[in-house]
């Protein structure tokens, strides 16, 4: 028999983040060398270290490869329609304000079809932690062009190379009013975990972009090797520049990737502004939705 049998039997429950993962659904569907799993691992670690009441943490995903995250995390999870994770999460948050609502979705979902919701939630400084996994492509559907695909990259709907400009996501988020904007690659496991920890503790619209390799589509269509080759690329080409001007952190094809924490400011969140304003205008007549939500019962 193979020497694999000599490995001591390791039980799934022994994995340090097993309490935060739906171990009954492992192994997950993400491809070998896909980076999404690493991002989930870092988020799970951040949750473990945060000391937060996990009963109150919800995760909302849209459609796509990253959209499957909600199905693999052991939290109240919602796998919603394409592009609508952010408004769905808004409803969750406003319906029960004590929830800590995380939106965990991909670039196609959040800033493609979901672009309108993204900018408005940022504008409102809605209390959401938005984790956007950016693999520069629409992975689940087979490798189509995304709003983040860099110029000249090949995708299945731009077979001769992309001629559309791409979003600079930190700039987009910051210009719309996000109060915490950071970008890391999934190679930066420690700093990413720390960013997640910070994001979990802050309020308002927190946006963390995570560059992740897509081996099956992006790397293959552009002959970049496997996800491991992309990780090596991140290793050699990521530049950490905290506080960089977000206008200068756009990503060109196989070019430097500026990482770091770009925006971290204290601004009143949507709920804070709402409460303060109604208190000022309605005085004692104001009855806010209680933190435990608007569920009416006997």
């Amino acid at each position: 028999m193979s020497t694999l049998a000599e490995h001591p039997e390791v039980l799934p429950e022994e994995h340090p983040v097993a309490p935060y993962i739906r171990t009954d659904r492992m192994p997950h569907i993400w491809c070998p060398t896909c980076g999404i799993g690493t991002v989930v691992k870092c988020f799970a670690t951040a949750l473990a270290e945060s000391g937060l009441d996990l009963n109150k943490v919800s995760v909302v995903s849209g459609i796509g490869c990253t959209g499957r995250v909600a199905g693999y995390m052991k939290l109240d999870g919602f796998h919603t329609t394409h592009g609508r994770a952010i408004p769905f999460a808004t409803g969750l948050k406003l319906g029960r304000p004590e929830l800590l609502v995380t939106v965990f979705s991909g670039d196609g979902d959040l800033v493609g079809i979901g672009g309108n919701h993204f900018i408005h939630a940022a504008r409102r400084n809605m209390d959401l932690l938005v984790i956007l996994v950016n693999n520069f492509i629409y992975g689940m559907t087979g490798g189509q062009n995304a709003a983040t695909t860099p110029l000249t990259a090949k995708t299945s709907t731009m077979p001769y190379g992309n001629f559309e400009r791409a979003f600079n996501l930190p700039q987009l988020a910051a210009s719309c009013g996000a109060t915490y904007v950071a970008r890391w690659t999934c190679l930066h496991i420690r700093r990413l975990t720390k960013a997640f920890g910070e994001g979990l503790k802050r309020k308002g619209f927190r946006f963390i972009e995570v560059i992740a390799p897509c081996s099956t589509l992006y790397a293959r269509l552009n002959k970049l090797g496997s996800g491991l080759d992309l990780m090596r690329f991140y290793h050699d080409n990521a530049e950490i520049r905290h506080g960089a001007d977000t206008r200068e952190v756009g990503i060109a094809f196989q070019d430097r990737i500026v990482c770091g924490k770009f925006v971290d400011e204290e601004q009143p969140s949507f709920l804070e502004m709402m409460h303060e304003h109604y208190r000022k205008t309605l005085g004692s007549k104001y009855v806010p939705t209680p933190p435990e939500g608007g569920w009416l019962h006997e």
Binding site: M1, S2, T3, H7, V10, P27, P32, C186, L228
Partner: protein, 114 residues
């Protein structure tokens, strides 16, 4: 580790020791852990798991310092390390550094069928 001058607290610092545990059936053979382990504890094995991937195997058990990098970077929740005391680490270093090649096992075709 080579020092140009021995640090004054050299005797007090204890290098952590760890033991790698692998959930073989979850592994998809991505190679991240092998690539980024700072102590080169792992290599890709020649064997297959049930899905046909090559999981990693430990080749330098005594070197693991429980940094958890493999655990953090694995996208498949398939590997982690646990702290071990110095005594355990020494025993581990003695016994499990035998490379898998010591007993090559059945030929590859047979493994695939199994």
């Amino acid at each position: 580790m080579k020092y140009w001058r021995k640090p004054l607290d050299f005797g007090d610092v204890k290098v952590p020791r760890g033991e790698v545990r692998i959930l073989v059936e979850r592994c998809k053979g991505c190679g991240f852990c092998v690539e980024y382990c700072p102590k080169d504890v792992l290599v890709m094995s020649e064997e297959f798991n049930k899905k046909g991937y090559h999981p990693p195997k430990v080749v330098k058990a005594g070197e693991c310092v429980n940094c958890n990098l493999c655990e953090m970077i694995c996208p498949d929740f398939a590997i982690f390390s646990v702290a071990v005391s110095d005594g355990d680490a020494a025993a581990a270093a003695g016994s499990s550094t035998q490379p898998a090649g010591a007993d090559p096992g059945p030929p590859e075709q047979e493994l695939r069928r199994a």
